[in-house]
């Protein structure tokens, strides 16, 4: 039997029952299942929004069939358990690409919708939900419901970023994006301060479809925030054999907790910056190398040891971007080890989803191995800053935010809760929403 845990391996949670789904036509009546119910895809969300302690998990990864693909228009319809990886295998050889992709290709379409994922092109393309045309939802109270901008628009919007709570997505249809081939023209530019990053990012966002920055988060010098900005565009150079995509060649192992410490991370970051050098570097690389560097290592989350890790992704509005500095200062002053930090400036495109995370602002992502109470305490301090600056924290990555924080970050949550399927629930939702009696 498969393990059903989240990517961060924190918190631990055990469903009472797992129901693997293989065929849309065989999905049982949801009213007959043990409540609460929650759909589960590939378990790539970090915190507890994919967990359902004591309830039923609907494993939708078996709903992995394509339904329709028009190579002329680039409209693809597929079942909810199809992974981005399978879609890329199908569409890249005929010069189409995902309109938006997160940092891993091993997520399902259902999961991409439920978390309204974003990518390095947010400043131009918005989030995944912006490219969604329609989907079918199975609900315990209404049966099958077709949702799009034209019909059942409220349920359509609630489901985008709706954390799987509004019903089981059976299939979805979305618009792909035209490309010339599988290659990306990429440039890596070194920066020394955050101000420099913001200038670089602003000047890159017009001419580059994809931008994201890696930040050296363990530097002792508070003034200097060294990092590397990655910017890229789809290359016009066609490549004959598009099959050369990197696939997982290594498997992560449970590392001893001492492996990840300030000195080792500092050494890694130093080497990483050294390899980059001072100058900018241009290259034309495969999209897999550009978008999914971590996909080369299957189960890389094991490196954080058995206790797991926490990823904290927040955003603050553009005009309050001192929030980023404040949180970096808190990180530097703490005893926690920040292993990875990624910075990105979002665009102004509004997400449709009521609980969607992306909005105009600057987003920073920080990884911390879980070290117990002290890690949680630091992240709670972060939340104070994010609340103060009117920002938000990404539910897909969260395992610990308080209900007060959540309700501040996502003011439309009460409106949203009217659209939750009466039989559905999740560990995340039980934590952040005021308890609501389950209708019997």
């Amino acid at each position: 039997m498969k393990r059903y845990e989240s990517w961060g391996r924190y918190p631990k949670s055990v469903p009472a029952r797992v129901l693997p789904l293989s065929w849309i036509s065989d999905v049982p009546d949801l009213n007959g299942l043990l409540r609460p119910i929650l759909p589960y895809g590939k378990g790539r969300s970090y915190g507890d929004c994919c967990l359902n302690d004591g309830g039923t998990l609907l494993d939708a990864s078996g709903l992995d069939r394509f339904i329709q693909f028009d190579p002329e228009t680039g409209v693809l319809r597929c079942e909810a358990g199809v992974t981005l990886n399978a879609i890329l295998d199908l569409v890249v050889p005929v010069n189409w690409f995902l309109p938006v992709t997160p940092g891993t290709q091993f997520v399902t379409i259902g999961g991409a919708i439920a978390n309204d994922v974003h990518g390095k092109n947010h400043h131009q393309a918005g989030s995944f939900g912006c490219h969604l045309l329609s989907f079918e939802l199975l609900r315990s109270d209404k049966g099958k419901v077709l949702c799009s901008r034209e019909c059942n628009r409220d349920l359509f919007e609630a489901t985008i970023g709706g954390l799987g709570l509004t019903g089981l997505i059976l299939w979805a249809e979305f618009q792909l994006k035209r490309v010339s081939g599988p290659l990306i023209d990429c440039e890596r530019v070194r920066f020394e301060t955050l101000e420099e990053f913001f200038e670089l990012s602003a000047s890159s966002d017009k001419d580059y479809e994809y931008t994201v920055a890696w930040l050296d988060c363990v530097s002792t010098d508070n003034k200097r925030r060294r990092g590397i900005l990655f910017r890229g565009n789809h290359s016009t150079i066609p490549m004959k054999n598009s099959a050369g995509r990197p696939t997982p060649t290594l498997t992560g192992f449970y590392a001893p907790e001492s492996l990840i410490s300030r000195p080792t991370v500092r050494a890694f970051n130093w080497l990483y910056l050294l390899a980059q050098g001072r100058s900018s570097k241009r290259s034309t690389i495969h999209f897999g190398t550009f978008f999914y560097p971590l996909d080369r290592i299957a189960e890389w989350n094991r490196f954080y040891g058995k206790r797991g890790f926490l990823q904290y992704q927040f955003l603050v509005p553009y005009e309050r971007k001192e929030g980023v500095t404040e949180i970096l200062d808190l990180t530097a002053a703490s005893r926690e080890v920040c292993t990875l930090s990624v910075l990105k400036v979002f665009g102004r495109t509004q997400s449709l989803g009521w609980l969607s995370f992306p909005r105009p602002g600057v987003t920073l992502t920080l990884d911390f191995p879980f070290q117990g109470e002290s890690t949680l305490l630091l992240l709670e301090q972060f939340d104070e800053v994010v609340r103060k600056y009117g920002g938000a924290v990404y539910p897909a990555k969260d395992a610990r935010m308080s209900s007060e924080s959540f309700q501040r970050y996502f003011p439309r949550w009460t409106e949203f809760s009217n659209f939750i399927d009466p039989c559905f629930g999740s560990d995340f939702w039980r934590r952040v929403a005021t308890p609501r009696p389950l209708s019997q």
Binding site: M1, K2, P20, W23, I67
Partner: protein
Amino acid sequence: MTRRVLILGATSGIAREASRCFAAEHARLFLVAREKKNLQALSDDLRVRGAESVETFAADLTDDPSHPLIISRAFAVWEGLDAALIAHGTLPDQLLAESDPALLRNSIETNYFSVVSLLMRLAKAFEEQRFGVLAVIGSVAGDRGRRSNYVYGSAKAALATFVAGLRPRLAHAKVQVVLIKPGWVSTPMTEHLAQNFLFVSAERAGREVYKAMVSPRPIVYCPWYWKWIMGFIRFIPESIFAKLNL
């Protein structure tokens, strides 16, 4: 020339993945399975994945009077077939099968009788055609009876013996017979079992079935290391084996 392939038990996990490999090379596929709705979903998927054409036929393969019709239809659509795969099967709970004669009968009928009934008819059709590949999914469980699943294993063992005799018969007609013996594969059939490191994905198993069919070999273990595992298990003397709880 695109391949024309008949898939019997097309909704099984391994068959589904093998079909996807055939679809990717633009083959023409004739799918047979019990559920009409599932066949529809399957054929849509295979068309999107590149299959040149997909025909479906809903039938319960344990109902052997339906076999002649299935086979004549499959051979008629594209005037012949290049390959056929028999992939349906059931994994009964061993302990239940020990006390429930109906389950015992059903297991032997599904895993053995319905398969050889199809094989006999396919053999005749391929023999007349004088070319083709006839592939059937056996199991490593058929290599030696084990306490934990000898009902299933015995049907697969009988099947292996049947295939061993069929192969030389068809060799004269230039028809190749392939027996694929998977180990543990993660499919809906094995969902209730506790997984261990020897489990492989249905995707991998399906790809190996596909490979075994496009460049045929008589017996293919899937993955290869089961040949050595089962070789070792067969080697254990009966006196010791009787004390093991494999």
